[in-house]
């Protein structure tokens, strides 16, 4: 009964599939089912934020999404490198990490509306913690980081990743506390300051120990503060991050963010963003949810840090906690649209890929042609105009890039300038970000509704 009533209201198409009465839950429809409300016409349904998107017709069991994520992660693990090579695999892996960072920051910035620009600090805390665990465990057990079986190393790494996430979450809790009192710009400055504090603290750590004997011989002064490389950075971290793990954790982050948004907690977080006084008056424990948002966001940032630290050819430096790294993530969230998981995901991938593309050999068409197709699917109304605008934009950008290549200018050096320009353009053209506050699913269902309204 509840199902059919909901569908009648929530979806104009709801009536059709159910007329037959043969569907599974029709037996449960009690005789006193309220008469279906006539499907209302919806016009101008813009600026919507569906914290509760329409339920899908066939409710998937709750383990379906994680299973799909695992399947995709396995698929990518075994296809990307053979088909496209190591370089592209690396970009996909970095995109995965960027997605984790952007989506987790989105829980803080986008859901509760607390403007945090210190996300990289959590990333660094998680990364350093996990790296310290894996590095020194390997050192003590095998006197070397690479001799152990890959499986053993991965198990240790997984454990370290979780610990890294938890430590980062603890730091998030610490930063969340002042957010009880601060809002807007003031909170932003506190988070910025926090990032810098973490960066400076990491610089003040002791130099790394390179063998088992050194560890055994270490004095207390060498162990406190922890020997994680100081200003020189933490090197020689075991290389265990596979594309599989990056995609898996990115998928898990997405699932958590998505389920959170559709639960009463996510709704209440968004309510805080919308109007804090009203949210509190409606019985939302504003302070607690704000801190929770920080904790959850920081946890996943810490996991991302661990993934990045154990990547091939990576070293950790105190600069990883710095402002410029945080700013990268903020750009992703703002570009994607505050509160939109889809937007943050898309923007994270875009910016990672764009950063690589500016360096040279990749072709812009790989990025923009799929985007253009997406654009046409979601906003078919302005098809012709959109195609022309995008065509010109692609040609112009590609022109600049070719020129830069010819003149041997490394555009990668100018990426902050270019991203800032992109951000300014976003502010002018789509002030709400690429997705505004909506999700992919909303756009699809909105389109369905608009079509329904037209007929």
């Amino acid at each position: 009964m509840t199902d059919s009533a909901r569908e009648n209201i929530s979806s104009p198409l709801g009536g059709e599939g159910r007329e037959g009465g043969g569907s599974g839950d029709s037996q449960s429809i009690a005789p006193q089912t309220p008469p279906p409300t006539p499907s209302p016409k919806r016009r101008g349904a813009t600026g919507l934020d569906y914290a509760t998107p329409l339920e899908s017709k066939v409710p998937l069991p709750r383990w379906a999404a994680p299973l799909i994520v695992v399947a995709i992660a396995l698929l990518l693990q075994f296809t990307v490198r053979p088909l496209t090579g190591e370089y592209v695999e690396r970009i996909v892996l970095d995109s995965g990490i960027a997605v984790i960072l952007a989506v987790s920051l989105n829980i803080v910035n986008g859901y509760t509306g607390q403007f945090s620009i210190g996300h990289a600090a959590f990333f660094a805390i998680g990364g350093y913690t996990a790296a310290a665990i894996t590095y020194y465990t390997s050192l003590l057990l095998w006197n070397d980081v690479s001799t152990a079986h890959f499986f053993t190393k991965t198990v240790i790494w997984l454990f370290a990743t979780v610990i890294g996430g938890i430590v980062a979450a603890g730091a998030g809790w610490l930063v969340g506390l002042p957010s009880l009192r601060l809002k807007g710009d003031y909170l932003a400055i506190v988070t910025l300051g926090f990032g810098e504090i973490v960066r400076v603290l990491l610089q003040q750590t002791n130099g790394q120990l390179y063998s088992r004997d050194e560890v055994h011989a270490a004095t207390l002064g060498q162990l406190i503060p922890p020997p994680i490389g100081g200003a020189l950075g933490f090197i020689n971290i075991p290389k265990v991050t596979l594309l599989f793990w990056a995609v898996l954790f990115a998928g898990l982050t997405l699932i958590v963010a998505w389920r959170l948004k559709r639960s009463t907690f996510g709704r209440s977080m968004i309510a805080i963003r919308e109007n804090e006084i009203a949210a509190e008056s409606m019985g939302v424990n504003v302070t607690r949810l704000k801190v929770w948002a920080f904790v959850i966001g920081a946890f996943f940032a810490g996991v991302a840090g661990s993934l990045a630290a154990h990547e091939m050819g990576q070293i950790l430096t105190p600069g990883d906690a710095g402002f410029s790294k945080s700013f990268d993530v903020v750009i992703m969230v703002v570009l994607g649209g505050l509160g939109s998981i889809s937007g943050a995901t898309l923007a994270a991938i875009l910016i990672t890929v764009a950063g690589e593309w500016l360096r040279g050999p990749t072709h812009i068409w790989y990025v923009f042609v799929p985007l253009l197709i997406l654009r046409l699917i979601f906003w078919p109304d302005k098809r012709a105009k959109a195609a022309i605008v995008w065509g010109i934009a692609i040609a112009a950008v590609e022109g600049i890039r070719s020129l830069a290549l010819y003149e041997q200018i490394d555009l990668g050096e100018y990426r902050m300038i270019i991203f800032a320009l992109v951000l300014i353009l976003t502010m002018i053209l789509r002030p709400g970000g690429l997705f505004g506050t909506t999700e992919v699913t909303d756009v699809l269902s909105m389109r369905r509704r608009l079509q329904e309204a037209q007929w």
Binding site: R42, G47, D49, R62, E280
Partner: protein, 259 residues
């Protein structure tokens, strides 16, 4: 009176610096009662609401709701204790859908845990479904169900006012505080609003405390009226008594000029 009043406010007061915004206000509200709170601009009516709902903490006095002491509790705790309000200047969640606005108000009565929500347990699913059903019923009651998936900020003004009342009721309050619900409404909407408030009173079994400038609405609805001026109560009584009270007339119209 045989029964103890549902909401009992004794002698509350607050001052901001040297200004006594509310001073020694007492009122009591029984089950199913409709109590009006009127007064000229700046008399302290909304401050009084803010004191009751915990936005401000009263310097003096006591507030009890159904025997529970509310003084010093945070706004969300007071809402949980059974006091819900609307706002003079509408405070909806503009980018959330109408349905989600009401759903947020159900938050404090939910039993799901954060871990359960992330694991999407059966309990969470069932509870979410139940919330949705309850909220849709609420919207149906307030004639907003066909707008359920529209952004609340895009509703017409009168609908936004009604949505605020629906949202407040979704917290399952014992006492509902309405802050100028008729502001900006045309005469026809005001009549509809009066019917709505009467309906709310009988259907939801709440007591209503109403701030209103529109005398037609107040006098037509309330059995009891408290008049505030400069933060103090200058009169209480039935609409008839209030209308003939000289102090009230003086507060609203001023004293007659001499000569």
């Amino acid at each position: 009176m045989v029964m103890a009043p549902l909401l009992d406010v004794q002698n509350i007061g607050i001052s901001f610096g040297g200004l006594k915004a509310v001073d020694g206000l007492s009122l009591s509200l029984g089950q199913g009662q409709l109590h009006g709170l009127i007064g000229p601009n700046g008399a302290g009516k909304t401050t009084c609401f803010n004191l009751l709902t915990g936005v401000y903490c009263a310097d003096t006095g006591s507030i009890t709701l159904g025997g529970q002491d509310l003084l010093g509790l945070k706004p969300f705790q007071i809402t949980a204790a059974g006091m819900a309000r609307t706002f003079q200047n509408i405070r909806l969640f503009p980018h959330l859908s109408v349905l989600d606005n009401v759903k947020v108000a159900c938050h404090l009565r939910t039993k799901q845990t954060l871990a359960g929500a992330i694991l999407r347990s059966r309990f969470v699913k069932d509870e979410e479904r139940e919330i949705e059903q309850r909220c849709l019923n609420m919207l149906r009651r307030f004639d907003l169900v066909d707008r359920a998936h529209v952004a609340a900020g895009s509703l017409p003004y009168g609908d936004q006012r009604r949505l605020e009342i629906a949202r407040a009721l979704a917290t399952q309050p014992k006492v509902l505080l309405l802050d100028e619900p008729a502001a900006g409404m045309n005469p026809r909407e005001k009549i509809a609003l009066k019917d709505l408030i009467r309906g709310v009173l009988s259907d939801f079994g709440v007591a209503v405390l109403l701030i209103e400038h529109d005398m037609g609405v107040v006098m037509g609805l309330c059995e009891h009226i408290t008049v505030l001026d400069h933060g103090t109560v200058i009169a209480t009584g039935s609409p008839g008594e209030i209308q003939s009270n000289e102090k009230v007339i003086e507060a609203y119209l001023g004293t007659a000029a001499e000569g």
